[in-house]
């Protein structure tokens, strides 16, 4: 909240206490019109008549509300992230202290990570995940830009049908498709290959299409018109006008698709069930079956699967949330 908002009602109140209702109206008029929301204390005029006691009361009330609000938000964040943070904490404890309930790993050790790497091809799994996620991301962006652009640029007979198909594909549950998709991949001989991991995941490209379409819609129409008048073809406009403007959105969508694919479990579990060829998510499940209740290395493995994503997200979180917030997807 800008400081001006906070001080203005106080001035009103002081004037009001000394010289009555007419005086309150004048400083009110002198205030700049609030352009953003004045989040609190809207009833400055009414409270003014009651004097300094009411003002103290109000200030206390405001502080309590702010504290309560932060309290609720911090509690929700902690409740959501606690298991992951606790697993991170435990992964650095010596194997004998797995059930130790100290909130910090002292003394810290990498023994669990070493054990996980010795027991399971973690690096291979991470590499597989990376290649798969990168491949799917490239395909989604490509499909998304082209289709998003054509939705914005062209009108044609099938338009509504196509956009409905794209939308509906978003909510068709992948589990309902796995039997035929699996059969197709098996028939093509794509089991345990990157092609088999990557290409069928084009089934979820709808999100990229819709997000990119929304962002292409925000490119000023005059810009496209000017380019057309200058004789640019549609391909050139897409390349030289739209794509440069779209770069932030592309980055955000790329990150979202990458992370979603990295986290995908069902499909790798089906087409690449062996530890050498699968992604780290399925690898963790296999590792769990192999290790049983040996939590130290298991949690270390889980953290290794989480850390790359956490790093990407930490660097780009605002960009991701903004991409959704300003997408106009409603």
């Amino acid at each position: 909240m800008p400081p001006a908002d906070r001080t203005a009602p106080a001035v009103t109140a002081a004037d009001g206490a000394s010289s009555g209702a007419l005086a309150t109206a004048i400083p009110l008029r002198r205030q700049p019109m609030p352009t953003r929301s004045m989040t609190e204390n809207p009833t400055g005029g009414a409270a003014a008549v009651r004097g300094p006691a009411a003002r103290r009361d109000r200030r206390w009330w405001r502080a309590a509300r702010t504290a309560g609000r932060h309290g609720v938000l911090v509690a929700v964040v902690l409740a959501m992230l606690f298991p992951t943070l606790w697993a991170l904490n435990t992964s650095f404890k010596p194997t004998s202290d797995v059930y130790d309930s100290s909130p910090l790993p002292i003394p810290a050790t990498l023994a669990n990570y070493r054990a996980a790497i010795d027991a399971f091809p973690i690096w291979q799994l991470l590499l597989n995940s990376f290649v798969t996620a990168a491949g799917v991301t490239v395909l989604h962006l490509l499909a998304g830009v082209l289709a998003g652009w054509s939705f914005v640029r062209y009108a044609h007979r099938g338009q509504r049908v196509v956009s409905a198909l794209v939308l509906v594909a978003l909510v068709v549950p992948p589990q309902a498709l796995i039997i035929p998709d699996f059969l197709l991949v098996a028939r093509l001989g794509w089991r345990d290959t990157f092609v088999g991991l990557i290409v069928p995941q084009l089934s979820t490209c709808s999100l990229a299409v819709l997000l990119l379409r929304q962002h292409i819609l925000t490119v000023p129409a005059t810009l496209l018109g000017a380019a057309t008048l200058d004789g640019a073809t549609d391909g050139e406009i897409l390349r030289h006008v739209v794509l440069p403007l779209l770069r932030p959105a592309l980055g955000a969508v790329a990150i979202v698709v990458f992370i979603t694919t990295w986290n995908e479990f069902l499909w790798p579990a089906l087409v690449a069930p062996s530890p050498e060829h699968t992604t780290v998510q399925m690898g963790l499940q296999l590792f769990q079956n192999q290790e049983g209740p040996e939590y130290g290395p298991l949690l270390a493995g889980a953290m290794l699967a989480t850390i790359p994503i956490a790093l990407i997200y930490a660097l780009a979180s605002r960009r991701i949330t903004d991409a959704f917030l300003h997408s106009g997807l409603r």
Binding site: M1, P34, S37, M38, T39, P42, V76, M80, L81, P83, T84, A87, Y99, S101, A143, A147, W149, S150, V152, Y154, A155, R157, G158, Q159, S163, A169, V172, P173, Q175, A176, I178, I179, P180, D181, F182, S203, C205, S206, L217, A221, T228, N263, F265, L266, Q281, M282, L284, Q285, Q288, P293, L299, A302, A305, T306, I309, A310, T321, F324, L325, R330
Partner: protein, 339 residues
């Protein structure tokens, strides 16, 4: 311009007046049987002329259309065919059995149980898909600024967390012997339990584990909807002496009604899918099938028992159920719009 083209000029699509007008009428509320009426900026199809001009949009959309045809809609049809067969995924001669698979499914108490449990998941997750994220989103929206941005980033993290790793973390935290939750409960004198192994606590546990993802995702979608709400109307209400609660209740929440209906539908869609991974990693549907859901059952039919027909029949029933849910959510809206 012919009259038919002039008649085809679409009005702005309903409820999208805040967006820039779609160029070239993309997705505008136009009837499909009328010829396209390109505006001045969508001139290219007209300029190029002939079949090449008409083919251009299809070329751009080809990657998406082919992908969806091969990996979504084709398989959907194929699933429908499979559901009429008796097949073990291997034998070269699947047998046509008509609707037998469906009849068996309806009579199968395990599938009935899975349907019931899926419904329970949806109902239990519904508040976490609507009320909770809505309250949080309004809270963040009313006070824009640095702190809100940080909260928003943190609250979105559960969507980004790897589901298997997350489930493993939960399994560790809920471990019956020495898990931190039981430690804390013991310290407070509360009963310690085998949370994931107790028939009356396993489903609530899975629900809560999945709830974080719903709150995170839907918080962001509510945020997107709130970004379109005019803050000035709130200031006007404040000047008129409305309390914050009244403003939220009568001014903000009604504007989120459409979003809420959509998110309730998304909850019905994703409740089953998002609990699936947690079920696979944490409970395998147990104890006593209390955490089962239809997706897990489908997976069991198809890839554990190699009964493709029954699995496909289950898939078709899921899709039909979702279509029904969508009709329920969208019908009142459509009636109001047309009536």
């Amino acid at each position: 311009m012919t009259t038919s083209e002039a008649g085809a000029q679409p009005a702005l699509p309903r409820g999208r007046a805040d967006r820039p007008a779609p160029r070239g009428h993309a997705l505008a509320g136009k009837r499909a049987d009328e010829p396209p009426a390109p505006g001045p900026l969508a001139a290219s199809t007209r300029r190029a002329g002939g079949w090449r001009g008409a083919a251009t949009p299809w070329l751009f959309q080809a990657p998406v259309l082919v992908s969806l045809a091969v990996w979504v809609y084709g398989p959907l049809v194929f699933t429908g065919v499979l559901s009429l067969l008796d097949w073990d995924l291997i034998s070269p001669h699947p047998e046509f059995v008509g609707l037998t698979n469906y009849r068996q499914l309806v009579e199968d108490p395990e599938f009935g149980n899975a349907v019931l449990r899926t419904g329970l998941y949806v109902l239990a997750l519904l508040p976490f898909a609507t009320v909770v994220p809505m309250a949080l989103a309004i809270m963040l929206w009313k006070r824009p600024g640095r702190a809100s941005g940080i909260y928003r980033s943190l609250l979105f993290v559960p969507v980004m967390l790897a589901p298997v790793a997350n489930a493993l973390s939960w399994r560790f935290v809920l471990d019956p012997l020495g898990g931190i939750v039981n430690e804390v409960f013991g310290g407070l004198g509360l009963p310690q339990r085998d949370w994931l192994g107790d028939p009356s606590f396993a489903l609530p546990a899975i629900t809560l584990i999945t709830a974080a993802k719903f709150v995170a995702m839907h918080l962001l979608l509510y945020g997107a909807a709130l970004a379109a709400v005019d803050r000035r109307s709130l200031d006007a209400a404040r000047v008129d002496g409305a309390t914050e609660w009244e403003i939220t209740r009568h001014l903000v929440v009604p504007q989120l009604a459409r979003t809420t209906a959509l998110l309730a539908f998304l909850c019905a869609v994703f409740a089953g899918q998002w609990t699936f991974t947690n079920i696979v990693v944490l409970t395998d549907g147990g104890p006593d099938g209390t955490t089962d859901n239809v997706y897990f059952r489908l997976f069991q039919y198809a890839f554990t028992f190699f009964d493709a027909g029954t699995g496909a029949a289950a898939a078709m029933m899921i899709v039909a159920g979702l279509a029904l849910a969508f009709a329920v959510v969208s019908l009142p809206r459509r009636r109001r719009a047309t009536g």
